[in-house]
């Protein structure tokens, strides 16, 4: 018995340590491989120029621009909607009510839907239904919004990331101590005043964490935007909400599967992957900086 415990006391710590090493190794190998190969083609021209010669030459600027635009539009759409939903669910709705139960069930299911289904949903709902509706009512039947474009792609991504934002926001709201709410109520605050002056300032950090998670998820998704707005190749940048756009993830997919000369695009592919990682990181980093700014502001006032 004693011997068994002796063996266990070094075996299990070593096993868990090994698991950690394995994870570390995977990250290092993946990132290292991408960085090593990607850096070779990386140049100023690569990130500022358009693709040329069947994407074997030139740069990927339209895809970088499109990715950033897509993620920003998505964030503008998903954060207010997700935060408002979470505030209603957690602060206003009666917790036993059927509606709340249904909304929660819907959110949980939404989180489990494969992303390609979101793409099809976006095509069916936003492009075919909403888009045609807008064209018929506003533009007199002229084809304007009933086509894949950056607006519909970003809204599709917003639907995809909505559960993330709602769950993170609810978590943040739950973390506000009940004591604070009671103290505010006891001073004659109305429900809205409690939410506005006590709960929201306390939970804004957690809400932005939700936004950051949404950005991380959204920036890397390809399937939802394939049918809803991402273009194979565009010689110009999107200028209007109903323009199509190039996107890094989709660009990578296209170059891997559709390129006539796979060997020739390989260095470009590596560099594009590296740029995608850097752009995602930069977007995340921006959100983290905004969060810490807001937190500092709240603490000082």
């Amino acid at each position: 018995m004693k011997r068994l415990i002796g063996i266990a006391s070094w075996f299990f710590p070593s096993l868990t340590g090994l698991c950690c090493l394995l994870i570390l190794a995977m990250v290092v190998i993946i990132l290292g491989d991408i960085a090593l190969h990607g850096v070779q083609r990386l140049s100023w021209e690569f990130v500022t120029a358009e693709p040329r010669v069947g994407m074997t030459e030139g740069g990927i600027f339209p895809a970088i621009f499109g990715t950033v635009l897509l993620v920003i539009l998505m964030t503008i759409a998903v954060v207010p909607l997700g935060v408002a939903t979470a505030i209603y669910l957690h602060e206003y709705a009666r917790q036993q009510s059927k509606i709340v139960h249904l909304v929660r069930l819907a959110l949980q299911n939404l989180a489990g839907v494969p992303s390609i289904v979101f793409g099809l949903f976006g095509l069916g709902f936003f492009v075919a239904f909403l888009g045609s509706g807008i064209d018929a009512v506003v533009f007199g039947g002229r084809l304007t919004y009933a086509q894949p474009c950056v607006l519909w792609a970003s809204l599709t991504l917003a639907v995809l990331t909505l559960p993330t934002v709602v769950v993170a926001t609810e978590e943040a709201l739950r973390a506000v101590p009940r004591n604070y709410r009671e103290a505010a109520y006891a001073m004659g605050a109305t429900r809205w005043q409690v939410v506005r002056r006590v709960v929201l300032p306390q939970s804004v950090g957690g809400m932005l964490t939700g936004a950051i998670l949404a950005i991380s998820r959204g920036a890397g998704e390809v399937a939802p935007i394939m049918f809803t707005g991402a273009a194979y190749y565009l010689p110009y940048l999107p200028k209007k909400l109903n323009d199509q756009f190039m996107e890094l993830g989709y660009h990578i997919y296209v170059m891997t599967t559709q390129s006539p000369d796979v060997e020739a695009t390989k260095p470009i592919l590596y560099s594009t992957v590296l740029v995608l990682l850097l752009v995602t990181f930069a977007l995340n980093f921006t959100a983290i900086i905004i969060r810490s700014r807001i937190r500092r502001k709240l603490r000082s006032t």
Binding site: Y185, A186, M187, A189
Partner: protein, 249 residues
């Protein structure tokens, strides 16, 4: 003299669980009424019934009547937000908001849209809570940097900012050191010149030190109420006598 608050046949339930049964009690203007009794006896439920904080509990139900200046407080048309400004409350655990001392004090006035004269009122409230000397140079610092006793006095001052007619205190000294407790008791003796105090306390000695009258609650019933002297020296119920002399509780 008509009492300030008349509680008549007040009963309360949490779900199907009865919490208070048929309480009738008068609270007079300018007095300190102590509510004593063992834990789970309904003291806090009674106190939170007065400013209708219990309404926040989804399963809570109450019947009977509570009148303040003759106005029925349990009516459906009563604006509880306004009511709670008239009956200010201090909780057992100090709950300063994680902002500056001054912003804690300004919270109540800002709810009502008052922004003038807040500084003068803040000084007055802090003095009334026996805290002014300790924090007058730290008004812009976080309230979380104060000690526990200071935090509780800040909460008292924050409630006084509402200029309430009645002060409801729910075991306000339960976690405090003797010096902070003494300061709060001193503050209450001064405050009763201007307002009425209902003090729920687990500390029988505290009731005997500060209260004009004392009410004894046991298992959701009001056993008896009377002047503090009468309750402590010559209670009519043996239960009261046994509780006060420390035989149970």
């Amino acid at each position: 003299m008509t009492p300030l608050i008349e509680v008549r046949n007040y009963s309360a339930w949490y779900g199907t669980q009865p919490a208070l049964g048929d309480i009738s009690l008068d609270i007079h203007e300018g007095e300190i009424l102590a509510v004593i009794g063992p834990a789970g006896g309904g003291k806090t439920t009674f106190l939170r019934g007065l400013n209708r904080m219990n309404d926040l509990d989804p399963g809570f139900r109450a019947s009977g009547s509570i009148r303040l200046h003759g106005v029925e407080l349990l009516g459906k048309d009563i604006d509880v937000a306004v009511l709670r400004r008239h009956l200010g409350m201090v909780f057992a655990v100090p709950v300063p908001f994680p902002v500056s001392v001054y912003q804690n004090l300004a919270f109540g006035p800002r709810l009502n849209g008052h922004t003038r004269d807040v500084e003068a009122l803040a000084e007055k409230s802090l003095k009334a809570a026996y805290l002014w000397d300790e924090v007058k140079d730290r008004l812009r610092q976080s309230a979380l940097n104060l000690s526990g006793g200071q935090q509780q006095r800040l909460c008292l001052a924050r409630t006084l900012m509402l200029e309430p007619a009645v002060l409801l205190l729910d075991e306000p000294c339960s976690g405090l050191d003797p010096i902070s407790t003494a300061k709060i008791e001193e503050a209450l003796r001064e405050l009763k010149k201007e307002l009425t105090v209902v003090l729920v306390t687990n500390n029988v000695m505290q009731a005997s030190r500060v209260a004009d009258r004392t009410a004894f609650f046991l298992q959701g019933k009001l056993i008896e109420a009377g002047t503090t002297q009468q309750i402590f020296m010559n209670p009519s119920e043996t239960m009261t006598h046994e509780y006060i002399s420390g035989r149970f509780g």
